[in-house]
């Protein structure tokens, strides 16, 4: 078979190859880091003096919650780049962000609610942080349904990009809700600049877990991005010799 004309396409193939090569690294390193951090968080770190062992949920809840916001910002930025510079690849990144982001948001909500049950005595509270995170989840869902309802992928890209950009106002609301409102949700425990309210022996596993989540998301993004690139490169075909690799 003649595969020569597969090499005609320019930039998306290189992104494709990059994602393909990057993925296993991200994936396996993040798995190793996660295992270590989960072990530390579950068995090594001493129980919190107030929350006892329930505090260990933080090691999955905080990474999921912070990443859910980060992913949305990333999606909005990618969407904006896609709209402004008419860059197909940026739209592909935004599209690939949506599902992992929604899953992370759902995870943050669920683990938060499991954590809230023993701490607050309720599965759910309609407080600012929780509600805004729920709104974030609905934004992800709205983004995905809007995207899915266009037949033409170019129009889907641009229409959903507008929604992603408009929805970005929710990100600071979630981020600072514990600061702005008197919230049932506890305040910020981690801070990159300045003093954190946690002991460093507790913090290291948390930071490792956050990084691991980020890398795991990166791995999922690599796969999702490849799918989106393929979807956008319908009529051309540098792919089959990639398959041989």
């Amino acid at each position: 078979m003649n595969w020569v004309w597969f090499h005609k396409l320019a930039s998306p193939p290189s992104a494709y190859v990059f994602a393909l090569r990057l993925r296993p690294w991200l994936f396996w390193i993040s798995v190793i880091m996660m295992l270590w951090a989960a072990y530390e968080g579950l068995f090594v770190v001493p129980p919190d003096y107030q929350q006892k062992d329930a505090f260990r949920i933080a090691y999955v809840h905080i990474p999921a919650a912070s990443l859910s916001l980060m992913v949305y910002s990333m999606m909005a930025i990618a969407a904006a780049i896609g709209v402004i510079w008419r860059m197909k690849l940026a739209h592909a990144v935004a599209a690939a962000c949506a599902l992992p982001g929604a899953i992370l948001t759902a995870l943050a909500l669920i683990t938060g609610s499991i954590w809230g049950r023993p701490m607050w005595g309720a599965w759910w509270a309609w407080d600012a942080r929780l509600t805004s995170e729920l709104i974030l989840f609905f934004l992800y869902l709205g983004y995905m349904t809007l995207r899915a309802s266009f037949d033409d992928i170019g129009r889907a890209d641009r229409a959903s990009a507008i929604l992603a950009i408009v929805g970005v106002v929710n990100v600071p609301i979630v981020r600072y809700s514990v600061v702005w409102w008197n919230s049932l949700h506890q305040g910020q425990t981690l801070s990159v600049f300045g003093e954190s309210k946690m002991d460093s022996s507790m913090i290291t596993p948390l930071l490792v877990m956050m990084l691991a989540f980020l890398m795991f998301f990166g791995a999922a993004l690599c796969d999702g991005l490849r799918a989106e690139i393929l979807r956008r490169e319908r009529n051309a075909s540098w792919l089959t010799d990639l398959k041989a690799k």
């Binding site: 509600t131 609905f138 809007l146 309802s149 229409a159 507008i162 929805g167 106002v169």
Partner: protein, 235 residues
């Protein structure tokens, strides 16, 4: 449009033209203008039936009921904002006219608010009394009216963005609700809070300012989102 603007008229004249057209059209289809209003009142009438006819009970939930009804009514109305103009090709002419599309759409949205938002604000005190709200002084009424006026304006602008996004889709109505409602939730929270405070005779100035700030922000940014969305939708 990248085309240079030739004979660009005064933006205010342009606004007047758009407003005149919208209001004139609305007068000819006045039944459609009444629909959101009737919907609003009907939704509110459902609550005494479903919850309890006790005025004390209704008084407690009145702010939320009023706000949810206003939100649903504005959502229902928003679908008709661009659809007729996109279907009969008017919107295409607007896009091709070389006039600033965000400005045209903003004025259209303003006309839409006059037609669908303002009636709700006017009817609201009557409905509120029917729900057992008895605000004691004029300041409370004024606060309630202001909160609903600011709130419906924000809802109209956000709804317009959603309508512009989904107008090209055959069955965009439900989708628009999915897309727009999450964005409108903060407005619901603050609006209902303002009403609550007004009923309790507290000063809601802070929340009203916040609503005004949200309105200004959305007025500044939403027209560009609308214009971009309309360009995608009519393509």
């Amino acid at each position: 449009m990248n085309a240079p603007m030739v004979n660009s008229p005064d933006p205010f004249k342009l606004a007047v033209v758009v407003l005149q057209r919208e209001l004139c059209l609305a007068l000819r289809r006045w039944d459609q203008v009444l629909q959101p209003l009737i919907f609003f009142v009907v939704i509110i009438a459902l609550f005494p039936l479903a919850v309890s006819p006790e005025l004390s009970e209704l008084r407690r939930i009145a702010p939320g009921v009023l706000w949810v009804a206003a939100m649903l009514a504005s959502l229902l109305a928003a679908d008709a904002l661009f659809r007729p103009d996109v279907e009969d090709g008017t919107m295409e002419q607007w896009v091709l006219s070389g006039q600033p599309l965000p400005w045209l759409l903003l004025n259209k949205t303003f006309a839409h608010w006059i037609l669908t938002g303002m009636p709700l604000v006017i009817v609201m005190p009557i409905v509120a009394i029917a729900l057992g709200v008895n605000a004691s002084n004029w300041t409370s009424w004024w606060t309630m009216i202001m909160s609903l006026a600011l709130g419906t304006a924000i809802l109209t602008v956000l709804g317009a963005v959603g309508a512009a996004l989904t107008v090209g889709l055959r069955r965009g109505n439900m989708l628009m609700a999915l897309v727009v409602l999450p964005l409108e939730m903060p407005v619901l929270i603050f609006g209902a809070q303002a009403l609550q405070m007004a009923i309790r005779n507290e000063s809601a100035f802070g929340i009203l300012s916040l609503l005004a700030a949200i309105l200004l922000l959305s007025l500044a940014l939403a027209p560009f989102a609308m214009a971009a969305a309309i360009r995608i939708s009519i393509e």
